[in-house]
Symmetry: C2
Subunit: 264 residues, 2 copies
């Protein structure tokens, strides 16, 4: 990864944000609707936990690395031209969160000269922490020792398990292209957000296809997927760090096949 | 519940089956395709873990209550006319299981004179155990003390969070009725299987609508949902224990509204 070893600092960020978020999970908080009128499903909740956790993360980063940049879901961007830029989504999967389902996670990514260099997905309720640096990836669950992660081979779409957050999130242009891939996949699962990419890195899922992502939805996940041997690009095969339409594959040849279909 | 206190025995069944299943979760086992050709999505996996766990459950029940009946997903029915009949699904949510996602659970139900009297949903990976006896329900997570469960009020469909396993599992007759309800719900989540009913009992979700369930998919969940204050019936408003088309609601008045819509 980078010249500086951020490993211990990442663990601290994950632990401290998890401690802030966990008391809010499955409590009965008011949920605020921040979506624009006419947005798909009209409902993009954000909880107090989101803000409390991002505040903690920003405070820790600002105190430790005052010259670093930060891009966060809740409180915007500071110093985006810095050598190191942190990319934060305190609760990716807010719809799961407010439904009591633990398919959400805290995404903490670090870009170095514009390239995703290190990422953590922390799930404090299930006590799972996925990490990657683009060269290797690992998972810690509860008190077990870290387990290295490897994506799996999958030669054809007909053998693939596909995940996406919701089939309703694709735009009119993307939907038929996505649907064409979905129709040929062996198994399709919805509703997993960041968890889908972590399952791909773990070798349980072969393909994640999404649209309309923000950088904070994907930057932390790229070093995890790539560290496990997978690929993440936009639908044109270019860098994924800016978000938009994203495809991740555990197998490079499957990735090529799917890119062709998404660009018909 | 019933005259005999089965509480301790349920805990033993949950613990022992969880110990059998857990080593199989996220291991790379062969998955067998037991679905009939032309079945929806063509893929109904069953793992070795399913069979190993049901074997353990049947052995324990047979040794302790040899005159009780058993209905199980994997190994069929014995003595279904007994006063007490156990209804077992060792892994409800096999599609989640093989995708590495912890949205599955072991369902252990007990019917007394044909009525669901006690049920447990055990999730050994997240260390969650939901229980109910039709009068009360509780959740234990990890080492925390049991927490009583209460479903929440939800006056109208427009305020409701709805869960279903997959919008593709409904038959041609049921799909438009389901879709009519889905279109008016506030938030829809897919892919949760038994977890959906437990989130409803926990007051995070208002509505679960499914079709084509087997008795072992639902019997254990009925005393949990009803114990938390919710309702579970078939789409006609009759008893749910035989499976089929099922609707569960956290709020009795919402339940009536939804039944009307499903019977248009």
């Amino acid at each position: 990864m980078t010249a500086i070893d951020f490993t211990g600092f990442f663990e601290r960020l994950a632990r401290d944000s998890g401690e802030v978020i966990l008391p809010f999970f499955r409590s009965h908080l008011g949920v605020e609707d921040k979506s624009a009128p006419g947005a798909p499903r009209g409902f993009d909740p954000v909880t107090e936990a989101d803000r409390a956790a991002e505040t903690v993360l920003r405070r820790l980063i600002g105190a430790t690395f005052p010259d670093h940049g930060i891009i966060g879901e809740e409180f915007g961007t500071i110093n985006p031209g810095a050598d190191y830029v942190w990319v934060l989504d305190p609760i990716d999967g807010t719809r799961s969160f407010i439904s009591g389902v633990p398919m959400w996670g805290t995404l903490i990514g670090l870009m170095h000269h514009g390239v995703p260099a290190y990422g953590v997905m922390n799930q404090p309720y299930t006590s799972e922490r996925f990490r990657g640096d683009g060269h290797s990836a690992s998972l810690t669950h509860a008190d077990n020792p870290p387990r290295p992660l490897h994506s799996r081979r999958c030669a054809t779409l007909a053998e693939a398990t596909l995940m996406t957050t919701s089939p309703y999130l694709f735009g009119d242009e993307e939907r038929p292209l996505y649907k064409g891939v979905e129709a040929e996949a062996r198994l399709v699962r919805y509703g997993c957000d960041c968890y889908a990419y972590c399952m791909l890195a773990s070798g349980h899922v072969d393909l994640v296809i999404e649209s309309g992502l923000q950088p904070y939805d994907i930057v932390a996940l790229i070093p995890i997927v790539e560290g496990a041997g997978g690929k993440v690009t936009n639908w044109q095969g270019g860098p994924a760090a800016s978000g938009g339409n994203i495809v991740a594959s555990g197998d490079a040849s499957l990735h090529e096949q799917v890119l062709k279909r998404l660009n018909r």
